[in-house]
């Protein structure tokens, strides 16, 4: 940035004020966009955050001595007035409270009193910071609520204990680290707006569920339920407790005719149990264990990709072959326009499952792909900040997100990386995903399209033609307007695909045409276990699926807003960390059963 040395840095410290990091980051984004403001930080005063502020040129003496439970507002602006105005605006944003839900103005402080205030509440949507999440989930289970635990960084020990409590109480625990669910038509967390139908989904992979449910909608069929399990449910340690419960729920749900099971390759034994349980449902089950194969038969319909799973489910549900969009570009034509230096695919993903599927699918065209989340350790990038050869990144991984919002909400970091990859003469094709739906960025193409345009300009200035392939996951009914997003991205020069495998194939074939070659990736095969029981989930089904859910939201205000937009009854808990975050008292309270 030019003139950086002349920037004026001003800060305000708010002692002992807690706000969740997403609220703060949204606020930071708003403040950064104010006139005359070059950079802004709205963070708690932890050592890690102070480091970020120092790096961003936002450090002041008072920040240096602030404490971890102090809230820091800091701006770097061109003028004193701009800085003052920005800080005033930040303070204003801090004080802004969502308008109270209908009825009482009281914002309940605990789940117990929220349940009292929202009669018939049956689901808690929890997105508090990881170290508090297990405690909050336990309170929700104690209040006899089903739980969608969006929070991650919950210990395996806590996950196992919570799932045991849930099972004992006839409740379903989705998560931890569960990003997506659709319960009786209501999208919880990150979810697309899909038509009601007869296909029920169980997924351990959030964006995978979004892709499959969106494609099912696009193909004219609909979703009965989409139940998430959390990313670690199918590990050997957890043993698939939530997935098995969810399968039983779908078995008991009269609205569900066809089941889709979505996961990255599970622990083999857990996967085998799950397949056997799927057979016991006596409903046809499409299985996609991205990368791992499953034998067909006995009611199981294996699919190699997410797209294929959606197609198979629609075929089973409707009896007809779904019509989906054809690939939009010809790889040979694109490849023919590349400069000789352009040899490598560079993928920048927001969705973790899509990133994983890209790594799997690209192997047959280009061999092992480097990544910050590689399929094999040998393909690990030495540094996530620098691409080498074929590289596909999960931009939502912790090491790339420090102090930032998930790329599904905030595109800043991905855009910076996009431009860097465009400047690299070795980049042959860029591969991106854009996930629409509730709680996602309200207009992702607004930021991304100009960036794509600039990327292609920069490459052109260096004498290069740069294909940018975007997988757009979403439906016509999503709040972002699917068609408008498609048009904006296409006008910016992107090749927009609705099926991820088409996008990956296009990139793969372009790379193959420039001299790469590979072999299909195989993560082994999983067959159903000989014996498995399907638990009785009639109690869960009765309380979870009886009409639209009534939701207690604990954590991100974003989720309350999206539920309200869907007409779902929701009440947010005015949550604060227990004991003001003081670990000494948190430990005592845990021991004293509080």
């Amino acid at each position: 940035m030019t003139g950086e040395s002349r920037l004026i840095v001003r800060s305000i410290i708010k002692p002992s004020a807690y706000f969740d990091s997403v609220t703060l980051m949204l606020m930071q984004r708003d403040v950064r966009s104010l006139p005359g403001v070059a950079e802004a930080g709205v963070v708690m005063g932890t050592a890690a955050n102070k480091e970020l502020l120092r790096d961003a040129g936002l450090m002041t003496a008072e920040i240096d001595v602030s404490r971890s439970d102090d809230l820091i507002l800091s701006v770097a602006a061109e003028t004193e007035e701009a800085a003052t105005h920005a800080l005033a605006r930040a303070e204003e944003l801090l004080l802004r409270r969502p308008p109270p839900a209908s009825g009482s103005a009281y914002r309940p402080k605990t789940i117990a009193s929220a349940v009292r205030q929202l009669p018939g509440a049956n689901v808690a949507l929890i997105s508090v910071p990881g170290r508090f999440a297990a405690g909050v989930a336990r309170e929700a289970l104690d209040a006899q609520l089903h739980v969608m635990l969006f929070s991650d960084n919950v210990s395996l020990e806590d996950e196992r204990a919570l799932k045991a409590i849930a099972a004992g109480r006839g409740l379903l625990l989705m998560g931890p680290d569960c990003g997506t669910a659709i319960v009786s038509g209501a999208g919880l967390g990150f979810a697309n707006r899909v038509r009601p139908g007869t296909i029920g989904v169980v997924g351990a992979a959030g964006t995978g569920m979004q892709v499959v449910t969106s494609l099912i909608h696009r193909a004219g069929a609909g979703i009965s339920q989409a139940l998430g399990t959390g990313s670690r449910d199918l590990s050997g340690t957890i043993g698939g407790t939530s997935a098995l419960s969810a399968l039983s729920v779908l078995a008991a749900d009269p609205a569900t005719d066809v089941i889709v099971l979505i996961s990255k390759p599970p622990d083999p034994q857990v996967g085998a149990l799950l397949l056997a349980a799927a057979q016991r449902t006596e409903k046809p089950a499409v299985v996609v264990f991205v990368g791992a194969t499953v034998p067909a038969g006995g009611g199981l319909h294996p699919a190699a990709t997410l797209d294929e799973a959606a197609r198979a489910a629609v075929r089973l549900a409707t009896g007809t072959e779904p019509v989906l969009a054809e690939p939009r570009a010809l790889p040979a034509q694109e490849a023919a326009r590349l400069a000789p230096t352009q040899r490598y695919i560079r993928g920048l993903y927001g969705g973790g499952t899509l990133c994983y599927e890209a790594l799997v699918l690209l192997a047959r065209y280009v061999g092992p792909v480097h990544s910050n989340t590689p399929l094999t350790p040998s393909a690990a990038l030495p540094s996530a900040t620098r691409s080498m050869f074929h590289t596909v990144l999960d931009m939502g991984a912790d090491e790339l997100m420090v102090g930032r919002l998930h790329p599904m909400i905030d595109s800043d970091l991905r855009i910076q990386r996009l431009l860097r990859e465009a400047d690299d003469p070795e980049t042959a094709v860029l591969l991106l995903d854009v996930v629409l739906g509730y709680a996602a960025n309200p207009d992702p193409s607004r930021d991304l399209a100009p960036a794509i345009e600039e990327a292609r300009h920069r490459a052109a200035a260096g004498g290069r033609w740069l294909p940018v392939v975007v997988t757009l996951c979403g439906t016509d009914d999503d709040p972002q307007n699917f068609q408008a997003q498609t048009d904006t991205l296409a006008e910016a020069g992107a090749i927009v695909e609705t099926a991820h495998s088409d996008a990956v194939r296009l990139a793969g074939l372009i790379a193959e045409a420039t001299g790469s070659h590979g072999a299909p990736y195989r993560a082994g095969s999983i067959a159903p276990a000989a014996d498995a029981a399907l638990s009785d989930a009639s109690q869960i089904a009765a309380s979870l699926l009886a009409g639209a859910p009534r939701v207690i939201n604990v954590g991100l205000g974003l989720f309350e807003e999206s539920l309200r937009a869907q007409g779902v009854e929701v009440l947010s808990v005015d949550w604060q960390p227990p004991a003001g975050g003081k670990q000494k008292y948190i430990d005592l309270l845990n021991k004293l059963d509080a």
Binding site: A105, Y106, Q576, L589, K591, L592, D593
Partner: protein, 418 residues
Amino acid sequence: MPRVTSVDIESANETVADRILRSQPVLVGVAPAADVIPGMQPNLILHAGPPIDWPRMSGPLRGAVIGGLIFEGLAADEHSAVAMVEAGAVAFAPCHHYQTVGPMAGVTTASMPVYVIENRAYGNRAFSNLNEGYGKVLRYGAYGEDVLTRLRWLRDVFAPSAHRALEHLGGLDMKNMIAQQIQMGDEGHNRNRAGSAMFARVLAPHLAHIASGEPLASVLAYLAENDLAILNPVMAACKATMDAAAGVEGSTVVTCMARNGTDFGIRVSGLGERWFTAPAEVPVGLFFPGFSQADANPDIGDSTITETAGIGAFAMAAAPAIVKFVGGSPAMALESTLEMYEITVTENPAYGIPQLDFRGTPTGIDVRKVIKTGITPRVNTGIAHHQPGIGQVGAGLVRPPLACFEQALEAFAERYLP
């Protein structure tokens, strides 16, 4: 989570809740403190709040102590009273150590009359001094001749009349009284207007049987003019209720909150008679003309026994007339009460709040819930001038220091965790 405590906290708290809800406080009479309070001594001065020695006492409490000594005839004036105290000839103890509660300074001496409350469900008794009314009064540290004259009238005229009227009446069911107050716009701490009016109405015919002429007229005038007449019996009823709930092994419920003008102290059922104290806050409130926040003394008085028992600020939703204290609107009063449900273990169905569809008042403060939520109990309170003898300067709100609850939780853990 595996339970690691040596006791079952939940069932202990259920026992406590049960005792609170089952208590049946009845106002049975009025008698000299020395006659009814076990262990009362001529040179013993009972005061509000946790234990405190003379050097740390605030202005209003010192003034009341001086007034008490003069009233007892132990000292002739301020100088001899102070000299007596400094010579160690006076013993001090919290009212709470003697089954007693007193508003503001709470000073209670041997010859002062006290209301006698019997908890008919559990057999325990509790006591409270008599309310002097407004203006310059002992409880705010005034001890001029007019104050002493009024105290003597209470002792010589009002107390015997009220006692005989109560005898004639056969006792006044305080639970019933408080329940009606809650439905008539009182919260039982800062507002007792409806209750005091009922008190007068209930006593009047019985007073007419046992008194006449000027004495009767003065007693009726006292009842007619004093909107706080029922406060002291209400406090003693709460004390009798909470004493019945004290000492339950393993319970985390608060059985006492009290302030002496310097410290705020709490006691917890499962932790015996131990006090957990921290410096009292200065209440924030509305002030009488000519006074301001700068005149306010730190929080003082045993009247927080009302909140401890689930009324007072906990029943704020029921008292629309005093919503100015909580920001001005009935909705805010409702929120005050709703917030207290977050930190309590039960609801008292006897005290149904009309504004909440007759939901019972939030009752039984759980130390664990206070620490977990960071929500400290709300307290409605009168505000004393920090200099002795000036009296009440306003009324408002205060909360106990969180530190009292933190100490209590740590002590509980020390006591019950292996």
